[in-house]
């Protein structure tokens, strides 16, 4: 169970980000999660959207370079130690987290949502669900 993340290459200069968000806005695409990693001259924008196909087609048409990867959408129990519990499970299974970021869930929030980028999304997904952690998939996300 995973979610599709779109990573977009971006120059680190004024207006670069705007040119991408303009494309998304024009195509009526809803951004569910967003994070930006940067160096001094370029950056990678990582987004979770409501319509992956429409987004990637629009970006491609506008000449953006992007890649799509599988990430986990994890529902973190909204209690102290919630995140700790999830990381505990991944550590026990020796699964490294490349990066993670929080995102806004749907209207019926039962916990905090986080995106996890791990080397083996399938394994991590199986391990977490096996231990009672709730995940969201692309379909659930599209419905949010």
């Amino acid at each position: 169970m995973s979610v599709k993340q779109i990573s977009v290459f971006m120059e680190n200069k004024p207006g670069a980000l705007l040119s991408m968000t303009t494309v998304l806005a024009e195509h009526n695409i809803d951004i569910r999660a967003f994070t930006l990693a940067e160096t001094s001259d370029f950056g990678i924008v990582r987004i979770i959207v409501d319509d992956v196909y429409k987004t990637s087609t629009a970006l491609k048409d506008m000449g953006f370079v992007y890649s799509i990867s599988n990430v986990l959408g994890v529902v973190i129990p909204d209690v102290p130690g919630g995140l700790n519990q999830v990381l505990q499970i991944l550590t026990e299974e020796n699964i490294n987290v490349d990066y993670m970021y929080a995102f806004q869930g749907g209207k019926n929030i039962s916990g905090a949502y986080m995106i996890f980028k791990v080397a083996d999304a399938n394994k991590a997904s199986a391990v977490l669900t096996g231990r009672g952690i709730q995940l969201v998939d692309q379909e659930a996300l599209d419905r949010m």
């Binding site: 120059e11 001259d41 990678i44 953006f64 990867s69």
Partner: protein, 433 residues
């Protein structure tokens, strides 16, 4: 045992070659005078008539043609026969400005394909071989030229054209291709892909490659030869003169024999236009003495090279040219080092980057700076930031090895570098000297 496609021509005595050139030049000058008003006007301005040309000794009396002339005369101004006698055009990529369109009669095509057949034979090709042509087909001369040459030699020709590397490799393996024709950077890419697939040189049926259409170094040759387990031969040509095959490498792999029965080569001082003796580096100039539809006289290639009449171990008697060291009009001097954009391009392509780049030279606190902006491509992009930075570092190292200079590499957005606005766009020199 050295094989020749046309032994009586390729190993002819120097006297014979001289006689052919003298006779054909005289005839060609008259043909141009009578049929190409554009060049006739140039001759008249220089006070020369066909009566002044008795052989190659008089060649220096003829005016030069340059790329600017080709642009000015576009599209029909330099055509030497009625269009009903032309059967084909080919065209340059247009990366240096307006496209050049060259015209061919059937005879011109035959002559061109003969030249390519000589190159394939020199690389060991016979009618027993399977020759895969992975140059682009279409307006670009690479595919059509080598395709025609391969037919003439009698090879089983596999016209894959360029791109779709997986399919290229599938055909090489399934059809046991023994000869590969493409650009050196594409050969390197095919080689790397095969290596990644776990194929060792002895599992690859190829035995020879004919690579041209861009500058490549001896190091690149070695690396292609090692990964593919082949002998890699250079081939030279220009659309203006027909296409690949104007000159080609033999088993000696030390310079390319110019097909002197069709093309007279000169090396001139690019500043003064004076012809230079053998062994001196200068700009290569060609006179096409057999071509009918597009008969260029004293065409300045802007390629810098050296000619050598030394006896070649392969038995061919035609003069050899060195690998072009760059172009006259785009050499940069950075921190006292000569830099050709073609060298930078070779490194970029070699490492899988796109050929869309811009070189920005500036002077900061009395020191020249070299910034190379390269467009990101879908192939080079990954979600892993560390990997992109690693590749960037590797590129800086590759450039240092090639140029002896440290350059800054900046990755820029696709299509952010302006296309086709002339050669000058490749280089932006901000230095105020």
């Amino acid at each position: 045992m050295e094989r020749y496609y046309q032994p009586e021509i390729e190993t002819a005595s120097r006297e014979q070659i001289q006689a052919w050139q003298d006779e054909r030049l005289v005839k060609q000058v008259r043909h141009v005078w009578e049929n190409v008003p554009y060049y006739r006007k140039k001759m008249e301005e220089n006070g020369v008539t066909p009566d002044d040309i008795h052989g190659t000794a008089d060649l220096h009396k003829l005016p030069f043609l340059s790329k600017a002339d080709l642009r000015e005369a576009y599209p029909y101004g330099l055509v030497g026969v009625p269009l009903k006698d032309c059967v084909r055009i080919q065209s340059t990529s247009g990366t240096t400005g307006k496209r050049v369109v060259a015209f061919y009669t059937q005879g011109d095509i035959d002559l061109w394909e003969d030249c390519c057949a000589r190159a394939i034979t020199a690389a060991g090709g016979t009618n027993e071989d399977v020759c895969q042509v992975s140059y682009g087909y279409g307006l670009f001369t690479g595919g059509p030229g080598l395709n025609g040459g391969s037919h003439k030699v009698g090879c089983l020709t596999v016209p894959t054209s360029s791109g779709n590397t997986e399919r290229q490799i599938m055909f090489i393996r399934d059809l046991n291709a023994t000869i590969l024709c493409c650009t050196p950077s594409y050969a390197a890419y095919i080689g790397e892909t095969m290596k990644e697939m776990g194929l060792t040189p002895d599992q690859i049926p190829l035995k020879a490659g004919i690579f041209g259409a861009e500058a490549w170094s001896e190091e690149m040759r070695q690396s292609i030869q090692d990964t593919l387990g082949i002998k890699a031969y250079d081939i030279y040509g220009l659309t203006e003169l027909s296409g690949p095959g104007v000159a080609f490498e033999c088993s000696a792999q030390s310079g390319m024999h110019i097909n002197e029965d069709h093309f007279i080569a000169e090396v001139i001082d690019p500043e003064t236009g004076e012809p230079l003796p053998d062994g001196q580096q200068g700009e290569l100039v060609f006179t096409a003495i057999d071509k009918q539809a597009f008969p260029l006289l004293r065409y300045r290639t802007r390629d810098i090279c050296v000619l050598s009449h030394e006896k070649c171990s392969c038995g061919r008697t035609h003069v050899k040219m060195s690998k072009p060291r760059g172009r006259t009009d785009d050499m940069l001097i950075i921190r006292g080092v000569n830099v050709f954009p073609s060298q930078i391009e070779t490194v970029l392509l070699n490492q899988g980057y796109s050929a869309n780049y811009q070189i920005i030279v500036d002077r900061v606190r009395n020191t020249d700076t070299l910034d190379i902006q390269v467009e990101m491509t879908p192939e080079m992009f990954t979600d892993n930031m560390g990997e992109i930075s690693e590749r960037q570092k590797k590129l800086v190292e590759g450039l240092r090895a090639m140029l002896g200079l440290t350059a800054k590499v900046t990755l820029v957005a696709p299509k952010s570098i302006v296309r086709s606005e002339g050669k000058a766009v490749r280089v932006i020199d901000k230095r105020k000297i």
